[in-house]
Point group: C2
């Protein structure tokens, strides 16, 4: 019967401290970031991308990466498995001076987006990543390879699934331990998710593939269901739907962690997360950034309490 | 392969003129309602629930039901297939004095919700409906039987799928031509949708079942995908996500028609609707009610144009 072979358990990879806060105009101080991460850890979120080792010149909001990692790894503090974006060799040098054991590297599947975002061709970006991944693996780090605009930049038809699979193999071959496939523009639909995921799963075990869906057009959870049906059991999300849509201010970006967890639990799929505490973490996030967040469970919960 | 047997075509049943506008505090005048319906018809929306023949004492916003039907059926005006809610024999008497050929009757699957909403037990409500449906069928009307809170009132576990199937059979046996299954509280998840739909399809052809999902927790389109996989090919929606959540102001209610159509078209499923014109109809709706609507494609489109 339909849904009879869904995964029993899903891993949630939280991106709000990095992907959410880098899109906020005002930087939070390190203590505020620690407060957000603490709230997520306390809800049982198992993996968190906490910052980026990008140049503070580009993203001043995340300039405190070293201080944040040190604080989060303080003795006695409850912690989860942390990761950080690492865009280049200089970023990796900084990472290696911290206690962080996991990084994420990234490239676009759309040539146009890669040029706009990174000012390089995809091949040039892959060449630079190879160096970073090689060094990171030699130093024993876990490396996540993220592909953005997997489902297109201007429409879901402008990146061929075959091209995504090629880039996925390139990331695997340079040593990435897992892949995250991102619908950066929030334009994917379930059949197109199938087209890509089926090809990627030819080259990678399901346990090494995560989906990073945006909810810009309301399709994020429908796309998650398609991936679940194919055996994917790891999904990226951001508390309250924080961040993730620099191209269209006012539109929704990242899939909200609360929405993802609400649906998974309702389908009998375990996450190890306490939904009530997660909703409380969303309240912390909204208070810290000082604005209403777009996540639907977040909003329904707040409306219900008014 | 996954999704290989999805329907080729889906019928969209638009509820905004009734379900949307009855939840707006300020009533629109008849001309404004005609403008909204005209915009929907012009986009190719095939079926529209345009009003309710409820007592104007209860819902003054829809007191112009007769005038609206007369206006919409004026000679020379492009039109779709129209329907209206008909809560009781008195409402039916009013309907029969108009040119309307289709009504919708309704009952809750949750005892608690039926008591709160209609102040009757489910059995008493069904007895009253029987009389209305009998007369309507004798007069040659098409009758839609709507069940609300199909996926529960306080949680998705407080209404048994078996109970929904029983009520569905009661509606069929009294003469209803089709069923609409409503997730009034927006709490359903895909596996629970499967549990209910599989049972209901034991008693009704797939072509006689529509789903009315709310997006309060972001799961509406995921639930639509589950139903599509089971062969359901009719879905209720409201332009821009207008209306549908009287219990939690500020939270999202009805699934937005634009989000539904965006996903269906992206999956290669035809609706006969022009998405660009539908987005324009959403702009009309937002201008008429004078506030930002929650639909995601609606918001993304407006953000993209800013």
């Amino acid at each position: 019967m339909l849904f009879d072979s869904l995964p029993d358990r899903v891993t949630v990879y939280e991106v709000s401290p990095r992907d959410g806060l880098q899109n906020e105009s005002a930087a939070l101080d390190t203590a505020a970031k620690v407060q957000l991460v603490d709230a997520l850890v306390s809800a049982g979120v198992p993996r968190i991308e906490v910052t980026s080792f990008v140049s503070p010149k580009w993203i001043p909001q995340l300039a405190d990466a070293e201080a944040l990692i040190a604080k989060l790894h303080e003795e006695g503090r409850a912690s989860a498995r942390y990761s950080a974006l690492c865009p280049n060799p200089r970023g990796l040098t900084r990472v290696l001076d911290t206690s962080l054991r996991e990084i994420a590297v990234f490239v676009s599947a759309s040539d146009e987006h890669n040029q706009k975002n990174l000012n390089h061709t995809i091949d040039d970006t892959l060449a630079g990543m190879r160096e970073v991944v090689h060094t990171a693996k030699n130093r024993g780090l876990f490396v996540r390879g993220c592909i953005s605009t997997v489902w297109g930049f201007r429409s879901q038809d402008d990146v061929a699934p075959r091209r995504v699979a090629e880039i996925g193999r390139a990331l695997r071959d340079m040593g990435c331990d897992e892949l995250s496939l991102g619908d950066t523009m929030g334009i994917a639909t379930p059949t197109r998710v199938r087209d890509v995921v089926v090809r990627v799963l030819d080259d990678h075990p399901a346990g090494a593939v995560s989906l990073h869906m945006h909810d810009t057009r309301g399709t994020a959870l429908a796309n998650v269901v398609a991936a679940l049906e194919l055996g994917v059991c790891s999904f990226d999300a951001a508390i309250g739907g924080l961040g993730g849509c620099p191209y269209a201010p006012g539109a929704a970006g990242n899939l909200a962690t609360e929405d993802l967890v609400y649906m998974l639990h309702g389908m009998g799929i375990e996450t190890g997360i306490d939904l009530d505490k997660l909703i409380a973490a969303g309240d912390v996030a909204a208070a810290l950034v000082g604005r209403e967040l777009p996540g639907k469970v977040h909003r329904a919960s707040r409306a219900g309490r008014r």
